[in-house]
Subunit: 554 residues, 2 copies
């Protein structure tokens, strides 16, 4: 992974044999993932990644490991997350890196780290249980990483501590879900959480246990044995693990046991897209970049074939979304097109519903990619014209989009079809299906959609409320041009706030709280002179001068 | 109400006989509240409040009317909100006023308007049902005001429209709950909401009805009759009102019928605090201002007496909180002290539990004031030392605070006592009691608190998790000085985000979504150059030049 001066790598995918910062070892049902950040391996010149602090490069490797553990190593049922350095688990995001990063990079970096930590929780819920073994201090984003694990073990050596020192040290928030996980996931009492977040030095083992910040502690000589006991408990059948109450389960579906697996995993091949100034080309996806109109078109071709190709398509879309987020921040509108044969889409839909581990993993991955789309700060329109194929799992893309436009009487016709997959297989971050969210105020429409079978023509799709507008051939070009130009002319910031508010009606979960509530506050704080200004705390860190604050409260 | 150059009036309370912008007429069970903004009555010099647009002064009058309708006019069961100007209902917040306002004023203004609209919804739920009668256009905050009513009626005259044009016109969000109410309260489909929010000119009657933006429409000659029918339906017993389904009830408790009332209301006397540079003095409350330490102390004395004095105390605290928010933005930490006789507090607590309309209204008001405290962007510590009286409803103040400190063995002792009031009478915006939120991760602690009766000494209060720390006399002064100085030294912005994240664990409601999710995004957008910069849309509005945008999406 080679860095650029702006701190964003040109290639976002990686593989264990190329990791610079993590060591992954799989031994039967147990994997150990150890952080050993290469200080000299930062993406930005002049940044030293000391004390296991991380930048985007470190986190892209973690993302890769989380995905590979699920798909390449289905036999793994417990992952021990630990450090390979003495006395430190992880010091969080590197501060020099943050201080040099542009606002969009900071925000996109935080978003990716948040998504990856939610993926760790998703893996835990589906039976690959993550344990954070803290043989040294976990501070800031380091403790937030531990918070994403089901269990947190801390060594009691009178030195190691857990801490969230962002507020006192840097005048920003713990930006990776820490605040939400403290009170909403672990149920830490709010006044103790308040005290904790103001203690630069954090809290050591006995009090951390008392306040619910960690789940178990042990002196150094017994720490290894504690970890082994926890691993054994994680591997035991679910009924035997009553010793591990889950803290505050609000917003968390109950953990499902993972079926024992004989199957070997599936090796993830490199995606290696062809990249030019105006195009990113994958096997199943073509992204066309149009900087003049500030638009990207993402065209997916439904694979003719097996789950393995569907898996590849999902990975390609994920890679494309991240590339668009990091490399093309000016392209504010994404146009989503799916083309292909409805028969092939239906066949894939059936295979995705199978009761195999692979089908489950591909479904889960497609669900995560759809959520990544919804959590992207970009407008999205789905376009269904000649040859379009929005069937079942592919229809979810249109339901995830801010708007959808359908061409009447297209030739070949645009295929729209609801399948059982649209009623539960791919849930949004708010815990509802996209149709439940869409019809929150009109449950009768949800029932009508449930009863609709077979291909839907334009009138039927409109009547069912599945598309925003249906246009005749004669209007298609001009009307779309106008709405696309209009969308691309609005303020990017206002659109981000608008979309974040309209996309997620209904209940909130840990996940939606992190992306909307916590991230929105952090975005605001990252802009404030008290943090990011020339005299702000983020810029003053490590310098002799103290930060200067505007004391007005807002 | 006299303005100052910064757009904030020195006196925040008002009364109908002094209204400049509203006309309130009560006739039996029906009140009509008509907006007729005095263009020349803006708080800021050089701002003309055209087309029923509002500033803080207009909204403070609305707040007064909402409160007086409940307490002075308990006989009112239906409020018709309308305009006294032709062709326009309300054009929302005045743009010139917004463009000239400082960031803290914009944010605090939006917060108050949001609170008042939630109070309208609270009144509707408890049986004083609000109907918005739009005989003309409602745009921006004007439509958001209508959205706070249970029913929205729009004239169908081919001109009048409802609109949220903030994004296309000003590059900001509809900042008064509009986005949340569209999709979460009214259940408007998200893609239609998306289209609606990009239409500068808005949507006229037939389509507004079709999209669920309004509840009923009528041509001009029949509009009066429509309003009368709706009023009659609102006055009918609840069983007869099935014709009025409530849109998307997510986050909204079921509407309770209001008991018929023979009682006459209670006239609200003026509070008229004595105000000096270092003190705001009320009958029951004294606020000490300490700009050197950036701290305000709010000292409440439990009234010896009746509900009428408790009502006054609640109004005093409400006025004090608003004064601190608007006039003293640099005082970042509020210290809360309650003193008085535990016997008097218990007596008031019993009276508050009574089944009378007055008890109900005082309870409701105290609940709203507690929520105003929690929604304030200030840190708060409750201090219980000699003579402190945190009993029942007054204990809620300590539970609302970010931290609480208790002096051991004080003389006279600090009284802490749980009463049934702490288990349901005063709910937070998230729908839970403060104790339920506090013990979200530890339901057993909630049950222990429920079983605790009588005065609690320091050990018991600590053990029950009701206070953050108990200090000996010898440590009290020094320890408090240190934590107070420390708190006042942190970045105000980071504290605001921290507190907004830690205070509201658990479920989310329309209310918490508005204050955290929507307001956080709006705070961010209000800071962005695309809106508020020299070339931003908010500043460019009404000028010949177009706004210039940075096209990067974040």
């Amino acid at each position: 992974m080679s860095g650029t001066s702006d701190g964003v790598p040109r290639v976002l995918e990686t593989a264990p044999e190329r990791y610079r910062h993590w060591r992954l070892a799989v031994d039967g049902a147990v994997a150990r993932l150890a952080l050993a950040v290469d200080e000299a391996g930062a993406l930005q010149d002049g940044v030293a990644l000391k004390r296991n602090s991380y930048d985007l490069g470190v986190d892209l490797e973690l993302r890769d490991a989380v995905t590979r553990l699920r798909i390449e190593h289905p036999e793994v049922r417990c992952v021990v997350l630990e450090s390979a350095l003495p006395d430190v688990f992880c010091a969080g995001a590197n501060i020099a890196m943050l201080a040099r990063s542009s606002h969009p990079l900071k925000v996109n970096f935080c978003k990716l780290t948040n998504e990856t930590r939610l993926e760790i929780e998703d893996a835990t819920r589906t039976g690959q249980r993550w344990i954070a073994a803290l043989a040294g201090t976990a501070s800031g984003g380091g403790y937030e990483l531990a918070l994403a694990c089901e269990r947190i073990l801390l060594v009691d050596d009178r030195r190691a501590a857990v801490s969230l020192p962002e507020l006192p040290l840097l005048a920003v928030l713990p930006g990776t879900g820490g605040l939400t996980r403290l009170v909403d996931k672990r149920g830490v009492r709010r006044d103790l959480a308040d005290v904790f977040c103001t203690l630069e030095e954090g809290v050591r083992a006995p009090r951390a246990l008392e306040w619910g910040l960690v789940d178990a502690i042990a002196v150094p000589s017994e720490f290894g044995a504690l970890v082994e006991r926890e691993v054994a408990a994680a591997l035991a059948p679910v009924h035997a693990s009553h010793g591990h109450p889950t803290h505050g389960s609000h917003g968390h579906p109950t953990r499902a046991p993972r079926a024992p697996r004989a199957a070997a995993g599936l090796l993830l091949e490199a995606l290696d897209p062809e990249v030019t100034a105006r195009r990113i080309g994958y096997r199943h996806i073509r992204v066309s970049l149009d900087p003049e109109r500030r638009v990207a078109e993402i065209r997916l071709a439904v694979p003719e074939g097996s789950l393995v190709e569907m898996l590849r398509l999902a990975r390609e879309l994920d890679d494309a979304l991240l590339r668009l987020r990091f490399h093309h921040t000016e392209l504010g509108l994404w146009l989503l097109r799916v083309v292909g044969s409805p028969a092939a889409a239906s066949q894939l839909d059936r295979e995705l519903c199978a009761d195999s581990w692979l089908a489950g993993e591909v479904r889960a991955l497609w669900g995560r990619v759809l959520k990544r789309l919804e959590n992207s700060a970009r407008s999205s329109f789905a376009l269904a014209d000649a040859g379009a194929c929005f069937v079942g799992p592919f229809l979810e893309l249109a339901l995830a989009a801010d708007r959808s436009y359908l061409l009447r009487d297209a030739d070949p016709p645009a295929s729209l079809e609801l399948t059982p997959a649209n009623f539960g297989a791919y849930r949004m971050g708010n815990g509802l299906t996209r149709l439940e969210t869409r019809f929150l105020g009109a449950p009768a429409l949800l029932e009508r959609a449930r009863a609709a079978s077979g291909a839907l023509d334009a009138e039927r799709a409109l009547e069912l409320g599945l598309v925003t507008e249906a246009l005749d051939e004669i209007d298609w070009g001009d009307s779309l041009r106008v709405v696309i130009e209009e969308r691309a002319s609005f303020s990017p910031d206002a659109l981000t706030g608008l979309e974040a508010s309209l996309r997620f009606a209904g209940p909130e979960t840990l996940e939606t709280k992190i992306f909307a509530r916590l991230s929105a506050w952090q975005n605001w704080i990252f802009q404030r002179p008290n943090a990011a200004g020339p005299d702000g705390a983020l810029r003053a860190y490590g310098r002799p001068e103290r930060a200067k604050f505007d004391w007005n409260r807002t």
